[in-house]
Symmetry: none
DNA sequence: CATGAATGAGACTTCATTCAT
DNA sequence: CATGAATGAAGTCTCATTCAT
């Protein structure tokens, strides 16, 4: 009950932020569209910044939960594919959340460096997968931060494309092609000829 | 064409935009830091939006020029590597410009969708390279827009990493690794075993 | 009469009012620091103004009681000295109350003119003393309101000094000096040489 | 010219502050009554606090100039009387300024301790007069701070009385009586009997 | 009596933009 | 071209007060 209006505010804020931009969205507008008084917003969030940050953490945690579910699979390729699919599905299901993350990560005012913050926590498990793959010789032995950066952006690239053009997300050729590029980029180089 | 003061304004604006965010930077602050009167800014730019857009086009064109220089080379791998290096070097040399592009591309208020706008022009030539590579069988035959999207983001990924941590840009392992992943992702799949 | 919570509110209010100013102190802050809910404050006081006024009257009455205790003494000088000491002691013992009185008396929003209101009641007896002294020829025969005004401010002057610098209040030279000036100011002029 | 609107703002602010209290006066109201846009106020003063402080310093300096004019006179009594008259005249001529000083001095939010700040500077010369009087044996040899405090408040007492009831200021009995009390309070005690 | 989420008027302040000089 | 004082709409945030529980 106490949470009802707070959640309404967060939901409305997400919509407006994505439509118009964070700074361009007035707190009064958020409150009005959430059917709540101006003061109520500031009853739940000390200031606009805190509202934005709360939203950010909520979404990050949401993404983390969507991805990081136990998956028993000893085939590395299949394992990575599972994670990849889940993460992509989350983006397709929550297009606004993805757009919000992109927006906030690129605005210096929020002090969130893209790769450091956005995914680090929700991708802790990814580190293990990569290390394991490198030891087994299936993945190229490159610096971990470089590889993580690659994963992060390649995910964003595909997710953004699929969110902006949802019809692509439904075509097998695009789904397969995207993962193929992702995996090939990570894979160890095979002896050429 | 650009007066001295006009260029001063553009330079100062870029710095401030990257430090504090575009919206968070007041025109008065730009003018003051450029040692120019408030009104002068509006002599050169009809409004703030125009200042931002002028900067945007200036930077886009700057990037285009840096990359798109004729390169005679019949080896596809070597050709792509050259372009890759040039583009990356530009980012390392102009960190603020890269950050500005990222910021503007992710802010809905400017109506610039990342992949559509930012690089399209400066990467027209890239399309030819990719098509050619696919015909020759060296690159995977995937949908063009998917591949361009991949190129675009992989470039941003690497450039951002190198800009945020310049010391990495100087290590061969990182330079080579980044391009290796990029190329492998694009490359045609070889028969396994 | 006053509930425990009501008194807690009054005490807390006094502290905060003196520290930050009356208007600058939010009712919510008073309630919180008094370990009471926001609404509770408005159960005990119809509005903030009433809280302020209750405090004001409580303090005025407190000061009145401290001063106006019967004192049998036919020596005028000694009698006045007794009153003076009591009033001063009250201020030293209740520095915040004195400061609150000063603050409220000088804020036009509360419509309390300093000399008219603040002390009038608690100094009713003073009028008799002065009149008597003037008749006996010991005190200068000056207009009563002028003299009362003098008494009032000279008291505030000394009390404020002693409250702001408590170490002075403990030195005999300051105590004696302050009363000496007070008394001399009131006293009838003696023939010069 | 540049100062015109600024001074209008200061004048209007003084009036409103004295009528309604500083905090109770909205910046918008000041601007409107000064026939100036809201933004103009903040063009001249960074914030409300700075407006208040500017006013405060202006008034303090004004009072200082009104009092501290050279006065050749070797009779101490006459000299002090001159200063006393000037200071009092200033208050009668500038009732709002006096009231503003009283208001600000008693509001903890402005951090101005009454006796320390308000007059100290404008009464530097007073210190010399007192010291001299004490050496000559005309004034009681009491601690300097105590005496200054006495002067300060006795002045405020009389000024406030005369400002609140201007008709008194015009009666010789009140003028003479006020100074008589002031002087007697300061004067050295004569041998009794 | 007590609670504290909710209210909304209104305060302070910012800022893109204009315009007389 | 350049200036910077002036503008006023709009934004963020505060706070006394209410009311359902």
């Amino acid at each position: 009950m106490a949470t009802e209006k707070k959640q309404q505010l967060l939901d409305t804020a997400l919509s407006l932020f994505v439509e118009q931009g964070i700074q361009a969205t007035a707190t009064a507008k958020i409150a009005k569209q959430a059917n709540v008084a101006t003061g109520t917003l500031f009853h739940h969030f000390a200031n606009k910044q805190e509202l934005v940050m709360t939203l950010y953490h909520e979404i990050k945690s949401d993404l983390g939960q969507a991805i990081d579910q136990p998956e028993a699979n000893d085939d590395l390729h299949a394992l990575v594919h599972h994670y990849w699919q889940r993460a992509l599905q989350w983006a397709v299901d929550n297009p606004q959340k993805l757009q919000f993350l992109q927006q906030i990560a690129n605005n210096p005012q929020f002090g969130i460096s893209q790769q450091q913050e956005v995914m680090s926590s929700s991708m802790a498990f990814l580190i293990d997968v990569i290390k394991q793959g490198q030891q087994q010789g299936e993945l190229a032995s490159l610096p971990l931060d470089l590889v993580l950066n690659y994963c992060h952006y390649h995910y964003l690239a595909t997710a953004t494309l699929f969110v902006e053009q949802p019809e692509l997300a439904r075509q097998q050729a695009y789904q397969d092609g995207a993962f193929q590029m992702f995996w090939q980029g990570l894979a160890a180089i095979r002896e050429q000829a």
